[in-house]
């Protein structure tokens, strides 16, 4: 029986979130970060999650990425029910299927650009030389072919973010989660970063979720989900697409 809240055929949906709530704390200090979120992200789409600070964007993306447990609700990512998944399987799921781009890059300061980009392959058990070689190819495509041996401290903010993007896609994950990828960058570097994500990461068999405050990059979104007070208030097409979509 088709889900009445879904606007997509289930096979086309990379991320399906239903009635997800998340509470932090207990008793008087109880905080409801998410208050029943429903959301679909189809394959081949770049979805932006926008909204004021504290509205629950990061909490939602953490749950979708499998790094945080929801208090209640259903989370199916790439056909797998994350809520029912054991911790060990979730770790393996993230390793194989999810790429991350973090706001503060989180590059390892002691590793070179190529070594940093190779980390997901090393986690997957690749030999170091093969992993670094594969990561170097990705960095080359991102225009950092001449910076492979540089440490993060020797790179500009934009270059560091490109290394982070290379790290996020080097193992070809089917879901890419980006948390404020442009917030630490100037307008030009922010645009370049989003162009790279849109060009390289968005593929027919992948989905990309970008949490952002940065209205300058909304144009790269296929859809924009606006959050407020732990709920998704509206989902609209990106500026390059006409009209406003229904909530789901």
């Amino acid at each position: 029986m088709p889900n009445p809240h879904s606007s997509q055929a289930e096979d086309d949906v990379a991320v399906r979130v239903r009635g997800v709530t998340k509470e932090f704390g207990v008793g008087g200090s109880l905080t409801k970060a998410l208050r029943g979120v429903d959301l679909d992200v189809p394959y081949g789409e770049l979805l932006m999650l926008v909204g004021p600070s504290g509205c629950g964007k990061t909490t939602l993306v953490s749950i979708v990425a499998g790094t945080l447990e929801p208090t209640d609700g259903e989370v199916v990512v790439l056909g797998k029910d994350l809520v029912a998944m054991s911790n060990g399987r979730k770790v393996r799921f993230r390793r194989e299927n999810v790429g991350f781009v973090f706001q503060s890059y989180n590059l390892l300061p002691a590793l070179s650009a190529a070594e940093n980009a190779a980390v997901p392959l090393l986690i997957a058990g690749w030999r170091r030389s093969a992993a670094v070689e594969a990561a170097s190819d990705v960095l080359d495509k991102l225009g950092l072919g001449d910076r492979l041996t540089n440490l993060p401290s020797e790179l500009s903010g934009g270059q560091q973010q490109r290394v982070a993007i290379a790290r996020a896609i080097v193992h070809e994950p089917r879901l890419l989660v980006c948390d404020e990828p442009t917030s630490a960058l100037d307008a030009e570097n922010g645009r370049i970063t989003m162009e790279l994500i849109a060009r390289i990461a968005v593929q027919p068999d992948r989905a990309v979720i970008v949490v952002t405050h940065d209205s300058r990059v909304y144009s790269f979104a296929d859809r924009i989900a606006s959050m407020e007070d732990g709920r998704i208030e509206s989902v609209s097409n990106g500026p390059d697409r006409a009209g406003t979509m229904p909530l789901l």
């Binding site: 770790v91 993230r94 390793r95 706001q103 989180n106 390892l108 300061p109 002691a110 980390v119 997901p120």
Partner: protein
């Protein structure tokens, strides 16, 4: 992933060196103090070690250690000789004598009396004079450290004369001897002469030195001697052990050294633990990122343990190396006891292992409980 852990560790030079310093400090203190302790214990048995020929020491039943002289009667020597399984037995005198030097000053000396006929117990390290000269009238051999103590800065000179118990003694040889716990000069002479140098007593025989018949089990012969004579008979090893145990039990030396070693352990753990924890906290987001990207807790645990073990191995190597260098560089100072057997290295290694384990426990807990979602927080 262990390679990443290693790069993370050495990437922060200050913290890396700080942790190594903590472990190094502890290893150095533990190894150095343990070696000095072993050196002191070694001194207590130096005179047993120096007498290599006889395998059996026979003494009064109540003797606790080498300096605890309870004289035997002369007939005890013949009773020991008569025990089946005893190949030979000779008298040995050990006591303290007060010597009056040429200048009129007095020195306390350890007086050793060797069997007149066989010279069993004679020093092995004679480098000036001849052992046979001991049979000359009033002849004595003195150890080099004692000579330097009495005549500091003067060259070795045979023929020097001093008096013990108003009897003349002439130095006919200088020998190397292991330093003793009492640090007095050591004087070797014949048994018959030693009892004249010593203060008059009714019984003067300190020990009977004996050997078992070839092919006989030495411990079994010791038991036989005890059964037949009622005297205490110990192998050389047993006597050394008994002497050391006496000093361990009856003096505060082990406790004092144990306190220092324990303090070294605590301070090392504190420095290494604190620095290692700060290093982990500083890298907590990186660990969180690794967990978010799919690194399991087991791998994270292995990474932290590898980091801890690495600084442990380096700190241990540098610490015991410096301790050994200390012992080597002070080997010429006769007043410093330093002996580093393999057991000291083993004890230090175990201590360092526990230091890095304790130091990493807090860090391990921290990284294992870190929420991978931390990387999404600004």
């Amino acid at each position: 992933m262990l390679w990443i852990a290693w790069k993370m560790l050495i990437g922060n030079r200050v913290k890396y060196l700080g942790i190594i310093f903590g472990v190094l400090f502890a290893a150095l203190l533990i190894a150095q103090q343990s070696s000095i302790f072993c050196g002191l214990m070694f001194l207590t048995v130096s005179q047993i070690r120096d007498i290599e020929g006889p395998g059996i020491w026979v003494m009064d039943r109540n003797v606790e250690f080498i300096d605890d002289i309870k004289p035997l009667s002369d007939t005890d020597l013949f009773r020991v000789k008569g025990v089946p399984g005893v190949d030979w037995a000779v008298p040995f005198y050990k006591g303290l004598a007060r010597a009056r030097m040429e200048q009129g000053d007095y020195h306390q000396m350890i007086l050793l009396g060797l069997d007149d006929a066989t010279l069993v117990g004679a020093p092995e390290g004679l480098f000036l004079g001849e052992l046979a000269d001991l049979r000359k009238p009033d002849a004595v051999i003195m150890d080099d450290a004692g000579y330097k103590q009495i005549w500091p800065g003067e060259p070795y000179q045979l023929g020097r004369v001093f008096e013990m118990n108003d009897r003349r003694a002439v130095i006919v040889g200088i020998t190397r001897a292991s330093r003793t716990f009492q640090t007095f000069p050591i004087v070797y002479t014949l048994y018959g002469r030693a009892v004249l140098y010593a203060p008059p007593e009714r019984k003067v025989l300190s020990f009977v030195l004996a050997n078992a018949d070839p092919g006989r089990d030495v411990e079994e012969v010791c038991r036989e001697i005890t059964a037949v004579t009622g005297l205490q008979a110990l192998t050389r090893q047993q006597f050394m052990r008994k002497t050391i145990v006496h000093f361990l039990r009856k003096t505060g030396i082990p406790v004092n050294f144990a306190i220092t070693v324990f303090l070294g352990f605590l301070v090392g753990t504190a420095i290494a633990g604190q620095t290692f924890y700060l290093f982990t906290v500083e890298n907590i987001r990186q660990f969180g990122a690794l967990k978010a990207m799919g690194t399991s807790n087991w791998t994270i645990l292995a990474m932290v343990l590898m980091q801890a073990l690495q600084v442990g191995v380096i700190g241990f190597g540098l610490g015991v190396g410096l301790a050994a260098l200390f012992g080597w560089s002070t080997r010429g100072l006769t007043k410093l006891a330093f002996f580093m057997p393999w057991q000291v290295l083993a004890i230090t290694a175990v201590a360092v292992f526990f230091i890095v384990l304790l130091a990493s426990l807090l860090s391990i807990r921290r990284v294992l409980v870190v929420d991978p979602a931390i990387v999404f927080r600004g």
